[in-house]
């Protein structure tokens, strides 16, 4: 019984930790980190246009609503697989301003070619 209680407490802590890490906030005041959740589904990213500040670390939390997708942001040499049921975190520090495109690089069906978005880095 004691073990079960410990397990439940640990599971709850894990759940709330993951939820807190995955929240769609634009900026984490504690760490001065920009945290953005992006949902991938056939055949779009939501949001598909994101804006971040130069020099402040960014964490992208990538989730899939349906099938295996990819995330590729060539300008910052970032890529990740996005699979249903898990959160994929990609961290980087945008070191230059501009607008950069990202796309799904795992072929996901009719409409895959249009599955893209833009990251805008501002001062």
């Amino acid at each position: 019984m004691k073990k079960l209680a410990l397990f439940l407490v640990a599971a709850a802590i894990g759940y709330f930790y993951q939820e807190s890490m995955a929240r769609p906030s634009a900026k984490d005041p504690q760490s001065d980190e920009q945290v953005i959740r992006i949902s991938a589904k056939t055949f779009e990213f939501e949001p598909s246009e994101i804006t971040v500040k130069k020099g402040i670390p960014v964490t992208l939390e990538l989730i899939s609503a349906d099938r295996h997708h990819g995330f590729k942001l060539s300008a910052f040499q970032l890529r990740a697989d996005i699979r249903p049921g898990s959160v994929e975190r990609v961290r980087f520090v945008p070191d230059r301003t501009g607008t950069f495109s990202f796309l799904c690089d795992v072929f996901c069906g009719d409409g895959h070619e249009e599955m893209s978005g833009t990251l805008t880095v501002i001062e």
């Binding site: 950069f100 795992v106 072929f107």
Partner: protein
């Protein structure tokens, strides 16, 4: 390149071991209209996307491939063979519909007078099921064949949905090339560009650099591919890469618009940007003369 080719273009391309002609003109390299003794020619068609339905993009989606087949059949001299460089069909999640489209495509191209037809897959044909249906209809995803002194290598960079050739196929390529002289005439046929044409537009092969490195010791290599739905010419060292037009829709030049997407149909210029090409191989010289043809002769 779609319009008139000028002297500057010809000179630029001369360094690529290729001459490019447009609109089915009869002009040949050096003004010669005679096929040389050691030459032959084949036709490349690409990105036919059979099954696509989008009237604003191509209101003749059911007829364009058939017109192209008729145009090839109407050539004055028939090619030795025809190659289709991928995306034969439009992708679908439905396994049955995928096979129906492949069967319909196969029936249509069986109307070609030329009976030697080489196929390869595009991501629309093979990425969702790792080439299972494609292989049922068209055979191996990668293979080689030889024709009149030219060694052709068909590479699969699509059945992996992450657009990689993969280590196993790379080893197969290395083993095949070991059998070839360093100055052998080699033509690589594939779907995606092997070089990083525009990775942020998905115009690349994940491990394409490794393929090019493997090919590099061979002095006479030309790559013909599709995927980008437009004519394009590029050199990586001494290796020339030539992209072909689509037979369903045209795409804009990389990064010329904010977001990649098909060019809308222009009723004033139907089939603009679509077409196929003849490739004349002059084997001794290791030269390839490319002649672009429209779907309909204007």
């Amino acid at each position: 390149m779609d319009q008139l080719i000028n002297r500057r273009d010809l000179l630029k391309l001369a360094g690529m071991g290729v001459a490019v002609f447009v609109s089915g003109t009869a002009i040949r390299a050096g003004g010669s209209q005679q096929k040389e003794n050691d030459s032959f020619y084949f036709v490349q068609l690409s990105d036919t996307h059979w099954g696509f339905n989008g009237p604003a993009i191509n209101p003749d989606s059911q007829g364009t491939l058939k017109k192209a087949v008729a145009a090839v059949n109407a050539l004055d001299e028939q090619p030795d063979f025809v190659v289709f460089t991928g995306d034969l069909t439009q992708t679908t999640d439905n396994r049955g519909v995928r096979r129906d489209r492949m069967a319909e495509f196969r029936d249509i191209v069986s109307q070609l007078k030329v009976k030697t037809v080489r196929f390869m897959a595009g991501e629309h044909d093979a990425s969702l099921d790792r080439g299972e249906a494609y292989q049922e209809f068209f055979g191996d995803l990668h293979y080689t064949f030889d024709h009149n002194g030219v060694h052709f290598i068909v590479l699969d960079n699509v059945s992996d949905p992450m657009a990689a050739v993969g280590e196993k196929q790379l080893q197969w390529l290395q083993a095949d090339l070991k059998q070839q002289d360093k100055d052998a005439r080699i033509v690589v046929l594939t779907h995606r560009p092997l070089f990083d044409l525009a990775p942020d537009w998905d115009w690349a092969t994940q491990d394409g650099a490794a393929v090019i490195d493997t090919l590099m010791p061979h002095s006479n290599v030309t790559v013909l591919y599709g995927h980008i739905h437009q004519e394009h010419h590029h050199m990586t060292g001494h290796i020339a890469h030539h992209a072909a037009k689509s037979l369903m829709w045209a795409l804009p030049e990389a990064h010329s618009v904010p977001k990649k997407g098909p060019m809308p149909w222009n009723a004033a210029e139907p089939y603009k940007g679509l077409g196929f090409r003849n490739v004349e191989a002059r084997v001794r010289a290791g030269q390839y003369d490319i002649e672009e043809f429209p779907v309909l002769k204007g």
